[in-house]
Symmetry: C2
Subunit: 443 residues, 2 copies
């Protein structure tokens, strides 16, 4: 277990940088040292060039020394999942089929990170084409267990203090699940808040950029830096910036009313998870428990249909030219996807509005939803990344979801619990999460 350092959070590092107690080179060097020491056991990185990272740090320090205007993440290292294009590093999308791929331009998110002054420390490991087939990464709490996926490297790197913040993506459970398995905060914002321009396209109605950090505040910091309208992403919509960091710091006007929702896949949760969640609800005390209405019964099937049909188009070239180099699981998804009827696909897409409306209804009555993030602690074995089933409905509905590392499994592994809100309610989700974390600390 490599999770033992008392490393500064992103917020602490930024304060130290701002106050001149530390340089960006020193912060980046500390990350690189940490990686050199521990990454043989974790393998969180798909690409890492220490000189490239230190060069960015030096430029950040020089900028600061000259008194030039600085962004909110100035000098701070951030890890980026290896499905986001980077102009100065390879982007291999977790597949041998894209080995040596060097895009000419940055993803919109990477542009935003650079504008915010961040140092792109390196590229974190993704599963094969950000679907299920695992990369090399191990869970930093137990190298015999999966870190979860598809944002495996981002979760493992943040969990093992190799970098304070990392960017991931989620089409089903790819941010929440690895964050929950690795014991960090993971946030999947409302669909459309962060641009997917120049990120590997799986399924545009579902694909969502997410963020990971070791504290709620750090996670908000990165989300705030990435959120913004981008006309190059067809699902991006101009909206007022949610100002998550600012709202997070406010006290809720009244004590939030929470509801615990089992979801239709509750049976898939391990007994120990059910027990841990029951205990958590008892701790909270004033929490309602409800089932999702029957309209959600087909939600997992709708998600599967949309995602697989989209994979068939998004990965048509990989399927045509390199079918043999795809994993069986992905090849079978694509082959099922090739058979989906447009009518069924479009009907499933149309039902997203219904799911969203039901969640809106629930959040009229309750301030936030509490629900499992995963079925249990990270499973033993590196040949799979665990079930995303507890994330599917929220991803499909495009609502914001946050996993918080507040539980522990029977083997001492971290176990996230998920908080969910209505679409667009990202900032209040964080405020309610902070309130809940405060409540738990008091006990």
């Amino acid at each position: 277990m490599v999770v033992d350092a008392n490393f500064p959070t992103a917020a602490e590092a930024l304060t130290a940088l701002r106050e001149g107690h530390v340089s960006s080179r020193e912060v980046v060097q500390a990350c690189l040292d940490r990686i050199r020491e521990h990454d043989d056991n974790v393998e969180a990185w798909a690409f890492l060039d220490p000189e490239l990272a230190l060069g960015q740090a030096d430029r950040a320090d020089e900028f600061r020394a000259r008194g030039r205007p600085l962004g909110p993440l100035h000098g701070l290292p951030v890890g980026v999942k290896d499905i986001l294009d980077t102009a100065d590093m390879p982007t291999e999308n977790g597949t041998v089929l894209h080995r040596g791929r060097t895009p000419a331009e940055d993803a919109a998110v990477v542009e935003r990170l650079r504008t915010a002054g961040a140092v792109i420390l390196g590229k974190t490991v993704s599963t094969e084409l950000a679907v299920y087939s695992p990369g090399k990464t191990k869970n930093p709490h137990d190298p015999a267990r999966t870190p979860g996926g598809s944002s495996s490297g981002s979760a493992a790197a943040v969990a093992s203090f190799m970098v304070p913040l990392a960017v991931g993506t989620q089409t089903n459970g790819s941010v929440i699940r690895p964050a929950a398995f690795c014991g960090v905060f993971g946030f999947k914002p409302s669909h459309g808040l962060i641009s997917r321009h120049r990120i590997l396209k799986q399924s545009p109605p579902l694909d969502t950029v997410g963020v990971m950090g070791r504290t709620l505040e750090d996670t908000a910091l990165l989300a705030d830096a990435l959120i913004g309208y981008d006309s190059r992403d067809p699902h991006s919509r101009p909206r007022a910036h949610p100002q998550i960091g600012r709202i997070l710091a406010e006290e809720p006007p009244v004590e939030p009313k929470l509801v615990f929702i089992r979801t239709p896949v509750w049976d898939q949760a391990e007994e120990s998870t059910k027990d841990a969640l029951r205990e958590l609800c008892e701790h909270i005390g004033d929490i309602s428990i409800m089932e999702l209405p029957p309209v959600f019964d087909g939600a997992l099937e709708d998600h599967r249909r949309i995602m697989e049909a989209d994979l068939a188009v998004s990965f048509a070239k990989e399927y045509r030219d390199g079918k043999d180099q795809l994993s069986n699981v992905l090849r079978e998804m694509i082959e099922r996807g090739r058979q989906v009827l447009a009518m069924d696909y479009n009907s499933a897409l149309a039902r997203i509005a219904d799911y969203r409306a039901e969640i809106d209804e629930i959040t009229h009555e309750f301030d936030a939803i509490l629900t499992p993030a995963v079925a249990g602690e990270a499973p033993v074995g590196l040949d799979a990344t665990g079930s995303p089933a507890f994330c599917t409905i929220w991803t499909l509905a495009g609502v914001p979801a946050l996993t918080m590392p507040v539980l522990q499994g029977p083997n001492g592994m971290p176990l996230g619990v998920q908080m969910v809100s209505a679409k667009g309610d990202d900032a209040r989700l964080f405020r309610n999460a902070r309130w809940l974390l405060g409540t738990l600390e008091e006990e």
Copy 2:
């Protein structure tokens, strides 16, 4: 032939209204008189309540008398296709299945018209669910001929001076074709410029609101009033308003370079149409002639696939509950649409970007494209609305298209010619059209 009155244009009527020479009640009453006199032969209106229209006119006059702020169309009557929801009139979508349907709220376009001060004169006839099966309307130039569709009533009403301006919609050729057949200007703007909120949904990637008028300036006036971002339409994007009316009035900085494009369906044009267009090109003199690159060979098939697959979902309820009351042609389209694979549907959608890029290429070299609007004059017979084939590619690509009534067929019927530009180039399209009209007048 009812097209003989020397009725004021929209611009003239607005000036007279502004200068107090005429009241809105008088303008509306003149339209109602004209309709009473001629509509038995044209049948352009699906719903018309003279008292409702006069009531709106009186309110407009009262507003003006009180010196309150007035919109750009204040007091002007406008016809609205009967697939746009109106809170104060029925909206029956051209099908017996929706007979007596009275929506509670206005379409976004109707909201905009009311905000602009327009009087909603009445609802104009649409074909069945805005697809091919004709309504009752006849061509005002020859009642034995089709007015074209699906915006049949809008085109016929404007052509027969029953209303100066009318709103239509186009998913294939439903604005350009009836305008070309009836001898009025018809404009289909760039996809996404005008909101489709609360308009009968056929195929969101294709559905486009368009406008008709008797002059280029009038057409621009109505387009300018309707264009604007609407977050309730998922294809609406925030953009600078194109200010068509303002740009239209400017002189082109240099003489526009036009290109004549036959399109892959040139063989479907009648010989007399080909002759008329050849003559037009000779008149213009300095015009290039080119073929579309082979990438467009599959465009009509892509359009068919997208539209039919979307019809299967959009009209699933009508198909399920009232299959026998649908026309054969629509039922067969839906049944083909039910068989389309999601992969083929999504691949066709993805190719829209390719088509658009090719048109961008062409418009880098040329200022505007000239191309047939229709195969020939409006066909004899009221059981069909003519071929939309010369509109399909431009609708699919989402580029702006304008038909101008500058030609005549062998039987003296009007024959539109279509001008097309790159997506987003709506205002320059009008400026180039005005230049072309000036050139033709000189001769």
